[in-house]
């Protein structure tokens, strides 16, 4: 059993002073682990990650209860920049590239906290090998690259900081299947070689459970289930609702639930 690096303890999050979104979420991320955070739209995955990386303030949200500890240290009052210095980097949902900066500048900005020039150069090379497409587009302004290229850029940018813990928010979104595989392979690779810890929020349950060690399922602001990834993947409910393989083999997208839908639409 490895040591817990990140310990989220019963946090509540409120947006705008009135909207209660997380209702006591607790989770632990072990050193060198890959932990998946699953759940439907609006479950609060993004919010949880924002709470950890302290990016809530900009959204006018606040942690009102509970505690978040990084290697035993309370981190709620640190700035996001402090956290990056401690090795915690978030890849934000929806890319958030710096629109006016070129892809390369975006990546270099990612290494703002690293002063070692050689290390930065090495990281840049690494990112380019992971994502050759970025190398081709290195001189175009981020705003003018395709959705998937921006997503790669966002992930690459986070890697530039040589992080020890990466919070990945929907990394697979908008990526071609091959690249999705690659991204997860990169995660696995970094995890294996550099013992980087990952906490990833994903909709692609299949992939996420395949590559992670442990999973939490979040629904309407509460953790409803957790367990080792293999265990979750074997759970009947999970199979039914998240993997779509409940009760036998995979169903075609054409056939599911058509009755319920059709009825409502025509009503």
């Amino acid at each position: 059993m490895s040591k817990t690096v990140l310990n989220v303890n019963g946090i509540e999050v409120i947006y705008n002073h009135v909207i209660l979104v997380l209702k006591g979420v607790s989770l632990q991320v072990p050193e060198g682990g890959i932990v998946a955070l699953l759940g439907g739209n609006g479950a609060g995955k993004t919010t949880t990650l924002r709470a950890i990386s302290n990016l809530l303030k900009g959204e006018r949200g606040a942690v009102t209860k509970g505690s978040i500890e990084l290697r035993g240290e309370r981190i709620e009052s640190l700035t996001p920049a402090d956290l990056v210095k401690r090795g915690v980097v978030q890849v934000m949902e929806g890319r958030h590239c710096f629109a006016h900066l070129t892809i390369e500048e975006n990546l270099l900005t990612g290494s703002y906290t690293r002063s070692d020039k050689a290390e930065v150069a090495r990281n840049l090379e690494k990112v380019y090998t992971y994502f050759p497409r970025l190398k081709q587009r290195r001189t175009s302004q981020a705003a003018y690259t395709s959705g998937g290229e921006q997503q790669m850029c966002a992930i690459g940018r986070a890697l530039m900081a040589s992080p020890s813990i990466v919070l990945l928010d929907e990394p697979s979104m908008g990526l071609a299947p091959q690249i999705v595989e690659e991204v997860f392979a990169i995660v696995k690779d970094l995890n294996a070689r550099e013992r980087t810890t990952f906490l990833l929020a994903e909709q692609n349950t299949n992939m996420a459970l395949k590559y992670s060690d442990y999973g939490y399922i979040l629904e309407s602001g509460r953790i409803v289930m957790d367990g080792a990834a293999s265990e979750l993947a074997g759970n009947e409910d999970v199979k039914e609702f998240y993997l779509g393989v409940g009760g036998g083999e995979r169903r075609s997208f054409r056939d599911v639930k058509s009755y319920k839908r059709r009825k409502r639409w025509l009503a």
Partner: protein, 309 residues
């Protein structure tokens, strides 16, 4: 012909003086995407501080040397501007991370009111003098070539040189350093900038300090021209078309914009003004800027406005 050149020259130099104020706008916009309404108030505040300390320091120390007094006052005023920058970051900007431009704009407006009140409370509200030994009397050049010669204003010339140096330094800073890149990142997306570990707080303190110093230099030069009093804050309004024409995000743009506006404004007033009763230069400056915008909506050197789906 002589007169035309003279007007041209006058316009160029007036333009450089505008640039000095415009620079402050550009700096802060570039670094945080905030249009800083308080720039005028900062110029006033800095100039007031400098003028008063130049008066007080000899009284306190008993050293009557004007050079010493001015240098010391400049330093003290600079320190005060640092304190102001720090306070603004701590009390205002830090609280408004990731908010929209309009909100931040409004906040700078609140700052403007506050600084105007504070400046006049601390330093008084009459007219004060900044005497940095600028030569006031004109020199006449080329009086062999043109009848009456061309009048050159030494004070303006020096001021223009100072602006040019300042702009050159700042351009280098933005283009060549990692901080420069970080600033541009912050202006694009506060949250993403935070997420990669750019310490917004420190960045903002730095930028506002630089803007404070720029405001101090502008205040010093304009103050020595106009005298230090409340109206100094209104030069910001004259500098606005300059910023817009040059592009809100471009340091060299502030200079070019200044020159274009300065020349356009003076030539129009002198040559077109009399035909329509005069007093047109201020709106002409704005219309001129607008004309440029119709061709380039982001100003001459501004970053392209991106809208993509």
């Amino acid at each position: 012909m002589g007169f035309f050149l003279e007007t041209l020259l006058g316009g160029l130099m007036a333009g450089m003086l505008y640039s000095l104020v415009a620079l402050g706008f550009v700096l802060i916009f570039k670094a945080s995407g905030v249009f800083n309404f308080a720039q005028g108030a900062m110029v006033l505040f800095a100039a007031l501080a400098m003028a008063r300390f130049a008066q007080w320091i000899p009284q306190w120390t008993g050293i009557a040397n004007p050079v010493f007094a001015n240098v010391a006052a400049f330093l003290v005023a600079g320190l005060i501007m640092f304190a102001v920058a720090w306070a603004i970051e701590f009390l205002v900007l830090r609280q408004l991370v990731n908010q929209e431009g309009a909100t931040l704009l409004m906040a700078t407006l609140g700052i403007a009111y506050f600084l105007e009140g504070l400046g006049q409370t601390l330093f008084g509200n009459s007219i004060y003098k900044i005497d940095i030994g600028m030569p006031k009397d004109p020199v006449i050049a080329f009086d062999k070539v043109f009848e009456g010669g061309i009048l050159v204003n030494q004070e303006d010339l020096i001021a223009a040189l100072i602006s040019a140096v300042l702009v050159a330094l700042l351009s280098l800073f933005f283009q060549k350093t990692a901080t420069g890149r970080a600033l541009r990142a912050v202006a694009d997306d506060h949250q993403a900038a935070q997420s990669v570990g750019i310490p917004l707080n420190r960045i903002w303190v730095i930028v506002w300090c630089v803007a404070g110093v720029v405001a101090l230099v502008a205040g010093m030069i304009w103050g020595s021209k106009l005298g230090v009093q409340f109206s100094l804050a209104t030069v910001a309004l004259r500098a606005l078309p300059v910023v817009i024409l040059g592009g809100l995000t471009s340091v060299p743009g502030a200079i070019i914009g200044g020159l274009v506006i300065g020349v356009g404004e003076k030539l129009s007033e002198v040559y077109i003004g009399p035909l329509v009763g005069g007093g047109i230069e201020i709106w002409f400056a704005y219309v001129l800027a607008l004309a440029f915008l119709l061709v380039r909506p982001q100003g001459l050197f501004g970053e392209k406005i991106i809208d993509r789906v």
